[in-house]
């Protein structure tokens, strides 16, 4: 097997296959559709939203869903549909931001550990230490230090993502490292950076991809829980967890104020989890993520 052959062989046929395999699985197809729909809704929220999410209609307080307000209004007479759309933006941003930040750092650590065996032990012990803290404790501690807010939540979730990503990237990179062609490429005098980018990274992509999809769901779940506790997004910002928390006091009078954002979170997380499962089945069923 030549060094150039593997990626070339990989790239051309894989994309359509994955998609086709995803579409064959009902859960995969539906979840892919829902995820795309969620992303589009968030992206086009300003154009789709029927109203300003902050506009208060004092004559329509806590109105249940009806013809005028499709999803009803909250305790301040604000349109829940508009707030859901903008809330989707905030919630997804929170999830993606922490995934990108934590995932990038984690992947880097994973590659380094796999590639430079001398630092492996040290880096992985560090990751083990970080894994000893559950994400919720990072959330609590950062909220205590920097004060409650979206930034604290994103930092906390990023930190919690780092060791997980590092472990996954390291283990899939190690599989490749054992193969002959890496040694061969090294022998040709390829620089380390190039080697990692050209050979190591592409072979970890499916693991990274599957993990990221699943992790996004978890991160959103955690972040919205922190917002629900009042440690995350602060009012009047529309964030799904915070919206659910604000409606909690009126649960018995106007349950829709809490229920709608909660169902929203549930659907988002479910879609990402199902998509992640389907992706794993399609890409590499042996992945343990």
């Amino acid at each position: 097997m030549s060094a150039a052959a593997i990626p070339a062989m990989d790239k051309a046929p894989r994309r359509p296959t994955v998609l086709r395999m995803l579409m064959r699985d009902t859960g995969g197809a539906i979840s892919l559709f829902v995820v795309i729909l969620i992303l589009l809704l968030a992206l086009f929220a300003p154009w789709l939203s029927p109203r300003d999410p902050y506009e208060t209609d004092l004559l329509a307080i806590m109105q249940p869903p009806d013809g005028q307000y499709w999803l009803g209004t909250d305790g301040q007479g604000r349109d829940i549909l508009a707030r859901m759309l903008y809330g989707l933006q905030v919630t997804l941003f929170m999830g993606l931001a922490s995934l990108v930040v934590g995932g990038t750092i984690g992947a880097l650590v994973g590659f380094l550990a796999a590639f430079y065996r001398r630092v492996d032990g040290l880096l992985m012990r560090l990751m083990d230490i970080m894994l000893s803290f559950p994400a919720i404790l990072f959330g609590l501690a950062l909220a205590a230090i920097f004060g409650p807010g979206l930034t604290s939540v994103i930092i906390a979730l990023s930190i919690a993502t780092v060791p997980l990503m590092a472990r996954i990237v390291r283990s899939s990179a190690l599989v490749v490292m054992g193969l002959d062609y890496i040694e061969a490429a090294r022998a040709t005098g390829m620089s380390d950076t190039r080697l990692i980018l050209r050979h190591l990274a592409p072979n970890c992509l499916s693991a990274i991809f599957v993990f990221s999809t699943l992790r996004l769901g978890q991160v959103i779940l955690l972040g919205s829980a922190l917002s629900f506790l009042g440690l995350g997004a602060q009012p009047p910002v529309a964030e799904l967890g915070a919206m659910a928390a604000q409606g909690r006091s009126f649960l018995f009078i106007a349950p829709h104020i809490s229920v709608i954002p909660s169902v929203g979170i549930f659907v988002i997380v479910l879609a990402f989890n199902l998509l992640g499962d389907a992706l794993r089945d399609a890409l590499d069923p042996r992945l343990r993520i």
Partner: protein
């Protein structure tokens, strides 16, 4: 085995250091003046100054810091800025309810999760398997607060079947049992999904293992193969994974305690953070972290005892 244990305990030391570091940070980055917090709404500047002196807050930061370390060494976590109660005392009052809640949640969710996971593995590929897995994915995806709010709404409010307003009393009293049902159902509810999934994977894995295949070849019925061989071996990784999921449980417990006004450490922590009660926040975070580290360590060692491969290594 011994080496493994030593290694694990050795790993716990830097973790412990990390916990204390977070504690240090917490005490140093105090954005609000505790004296004004204590003085209340109608206090004048002189009153605030007097309270500051009373609290020892006029001392330089390194003096306060040194005092803090010394106190920590003596097992004293300080006094709440807000209600003047010793942090250790408050922690002592709240740890019990938190453990109570967690254990009650695990008490029903782990057996049920293992049961569901085993059934799914036994009839793998069937509609039942798909249904169980769908439910468990849903369980992993549902926000704890949503589950809690739905239970409060129906069981607590509409049907008035069970209380949801905090701890009713000790667990051996009727009030205590009634009061813990809804919180335990909520917290356990989000735990079933992961347990069922992990059990199913582990059982399916062991089913393809050598000795299981041998057992099958000997003509044992599949039911016995699953129960006697696969499940027993599958329990080891399940236990470890459950240990790793304790963090997940902890997150759920913080939310559950808040929704159900459960007087536990999680609710105490959130309240302390929101009210900038730094000694209290620090104390709760240190204790929660320590608890988590201990559980992880225990699970690790248990795993070593159970799994012959690690024992030999």
């Amino acid at each position: 085995m011994l080496r493994h244990a030593v290694q694990r305990i050795g790993l716990a030391i830097p973790v412990l250091f990390g916990v204390l570091l977070i504690g240090f940070l917490l005490m140093q980055v105090v954005p609000t003046d505790p004296a004004t917090v204590r003085a209340g709404p109608q206090a004048t500047a002189e009153v605030i100054a007097e309270i500051r002196a009373e609290l020892g807050l006029d001392a330089p930061i390194y003096v306060q810091f040194g005092k803090y370390l010394w106190r920590l060494a003596q097992g004293d976590l300080g006094v709440s800025i807000i209600n003047n109660v010793a942090v250790t005392e408050e922690l002592g009052n709240t740890i019990g309810p938190t453990l109570e809640l967690m254990v009650s949640a695990l008490f029903w969710s782990i057996p049920l999760g293992i049961f569901l996971g085993t059934i799914a593995a036994y009839w793998r590929g069937s509609l039942l398997d798909k249904a169980i897995m769908a439910v468990s994915v849903a369980g992993v995806s549902v926000p704890v607060f949503f589950l809690g709010l739905v239970l409060i709404w129906f069981v607590g409010f509409q049907w008035q079947l069970l209380p949801f307003t905090g701890r009713g009393g000790p667990l051996w009293s009727m009030d205590g049992i009634l009061a813990i049902i809804l919180p335990a159902v909520t917290l356990g509810g989000v735990f079933i999904g992961p347990v069922a999934r992990m059990t199913r994977t582990a059982v399916v894995d062991t089913l393809s293992a050598e000795h299981v295949r041998t057992a099958r070849a000997k003509g044992l019925p599949e039911r016995l193969v699953v129960l006697r061989h696969a499940l027993r071996n599958a329990l080891i990784p399940v236990i470890t994974l459950i240990g790793l999921q304790i963090g997940f449980l902890l997150g759920g417990a913080v939310v559950t305690e808040t929704i159900f006004s459960w007087p536990g450490v999680g609710r105490l922590a959130v309240g302390a953070i929101l009210s900038a009660d730094f000694p209290m926040a620090q104390g709760t975070i240190i204790v929660l972290s320590l608890g988590f580290i201990l559980v992880n360590l225990a699970v690790d060692l248990l795993y070593a005892v159970l799994d012959p491969r690690v024992r030999q290594a």
